[in-house]
Amino acid sequence: MTAGATEMTPEETVTHAVRCTDLSYIFGTNTAVDHVDLSIEPGEMFGLLGPNGAGKTTTIRMLTTLLKPATGKVTVFGIDAAAHPMRVRRVIGYVPQMLSADANLTGVENVELFARLFDVPRKSRKERVTAALDAMGLTEAATRLAGTYSGGMIRRLELAQALINAPRLLVLDEPTVGLDPIARGNVWEYIAKLRTEHDMTVLMTTHYMDEADAYCDRVSLMHRGRIRTTGRPADLRAGLGDGATLDDVFRHYTGDTLDNAPEEGGIRDVRRARRTARRLG
């Protein structure tokens, strides 16, 4: 039995990897997430799409137990994130928006840190750290300080960190933001590989519609805190007729373009992006 299964209430069998019901979050006067209902099936690659400030990151922060919902709840494999944060944390792997490996540690140490924090037994720690780095193609760079890594390598190192816990749900917040096109394609290949070989559910946010179209089984379009529509990318496009892109779908449902950055919440993201930029020099 897995840890997740132990905590499951009998009536709530694993039909959903993630389930948000009536989920809201309010920053001051700004309703960042506005009564969201959302279900993700086990094994799915699910995309939460929308411009900066749409509420994607806030939704993820509630799911990853960092924020407590104002209304409603979010469950991960049947476990309530607000009520049992420690249990939820054991079944998720999380890669935040910013490139966030510790530059003063080597690749191995970065991954070993997470192995320790996830209570990977000492006997199998080394083996798993090596395997995770290997799986992300970082074997050669493993003993170098992460400060010497390229953006794409740091992202893969973060995936190795997230992988060490053998998570059932991998949560990726803007996994390819700030990477050059080659590194982006490369990161996607690794994510796809992980998902098929480890049978993981993947939830990711992005504002690159082309990437969502290419890699996601289903997507939800989010705008100003609300889910506007959900479906398979192909179905959503077909609904608008021939030659429509996901961008067109988005415009159709929101009356807005992706480039049109909304007020309020957008500022937070911009500030974060600036911080990262400064750090990376």
């Binding site: 039995m1 897995t2 840890a3 997740g4 132990t6 922060r61 990853t64 137990t65 960092l66 924020l67 420690m86 944390r89 054991r90 079944v91 998720i92 999380y94 890669v95 935040p96 928006q97 910013m98 490139l99 966030s100 490996a101 510790d102 003063n104 540690l105 080597t106 140490e109 840190l113 997470f114 320790r116 924090l117 996830f118 209570d119 037994p121 199998s124 083996e127 798993r128 395997a131 290997d134 799986a135 992300m136 193609g137 074997t139 300080l145 973060e158 960190q161 816990n165 053998a166 290949e189 690794y190 590989k193 992980l194 070989e197 480890h198 911080r275 990262t276 750090r279």
Partner: protein, 281 residues
């Protein structure tokens, strides 16, 4: 593609360890997290030792110039008439630990800015365990620095105790003192939220803390108002305990330790409560 294909994960991967929420498990987890974060700190010191050397300059100057001069002019009465340099050395030891601790919050702000803090908070590590781990990691850094200071002082002719028990006791006191001031710093980080502001506040409080303690002169020679401040300054108790253990000047060791342990516990609580404020910005 150059990456090695990841094989199927070992069977053990699929099952995250079932960790029950009972006091024994919580204590074991706390011990594990403290150990892990201390390990990280030691790795960082190993990768980059420049700080160890640059931070040795100031205490060396205090001992060499201030210490030698004031030993010669006999301006400060010392208990049992011991050389002033011997009296001063534990004070300088505490000072160098204070300098490390009071700016430790900068690290946690940096980690927040870099996204590392979010990732740490999504591991099964309660906030208080994360803060306690960091507090002891700061203690480990102080300890390595302390060894350097003690060596410098010994070269200048300070006669320290050779009793292993007393040395271990002094190490514990130094770690406790650093844990307190680093949590004070992390609490300030939770209020100030920005690096530059924390730097300013840190600089503003370091010297008052230092001069209002018994690091440089006995409490007895202070004016009444300063004596009052000195007696609520945890640095005084740290210095007194170090003096008692390292030099053999009589002190009420149990009171010193109790005050340090109590204030450390209070500051850990405070910093843990302020952590989400810092993380969710």
């Amino acid at each position: 593609m150059t990456y090695a294909a990841p094989g199927a994960p070992p069977a053990a991967w699929v099952e995250p360890p079932v960790v029950r929420d009972n006091p024994v498990a919580a204590l074991r987890r706390l011990a594990n997290r403290i150990g892990t974060l201390c390990w990280v700190e030691l790795r960082k010191i190993r990768h980059d030792r420049t700080e160890l050397y640059t931070r040795a300059i100031q205490p060396a100057l205090w001992l060499l110039i201030y210490g030698e001069v004031f030993t010669r002019i006999h301006a400060i009465p010392t208990p049992q008439g011991i050389p002033y340099l011997d009296y001063l050395a534990p004070g300088i030891l505490a000072q160098s630990a204070l300098f490390i601790a009071i700016f430790y919050g900068i690290q946690i702000i940096w980690e927040r800015d870099a996204g590392v803090l979010t990732k740490l908070m999504v591991t099964p590590t309660p906030r208080s365990a994360l803060i306690t781990g960091k507090a002891f990691a700061a203690g480990v850094r102080s300890l390595t620095q302390g060894v350097v200071v003690v060596i410098i002082a010994a070269i200048l002719g300070v006669s320290f105790t050779t009793s292993p028990l007393k040395l271990i006791g002094a190490a514990i006191v130094l770690v406790l003192g650093t844990a307190f001031f680093s949590c004070l710093s992390m609490s300030i980080a939770g209020v100030a939220l920005a690096r530059d502001r924390l730097m300013g506040i840190g600089q503003a409080i370091t010297m008052p803390l230092f001069f209002s303690s018994s690091a440089l002169y006995p409490i007895a020679v202070m004016p009444g108002w300063l004596q009052a401040i000195s007696k609520v300054n945890p640095l005084t108790y740290e210095v007194e305990a170090l003096r008692g253990l390292l030099i053999g000047i009589p002190t009420t060791l149990w009171l010193d330790t109790l005050v340090l342990a109590g204030s450390t516990l209070a500051s850990i609580t405070c910093a843990s409560l302020l952590l989400p404020r810092l993380a969710n910005r």
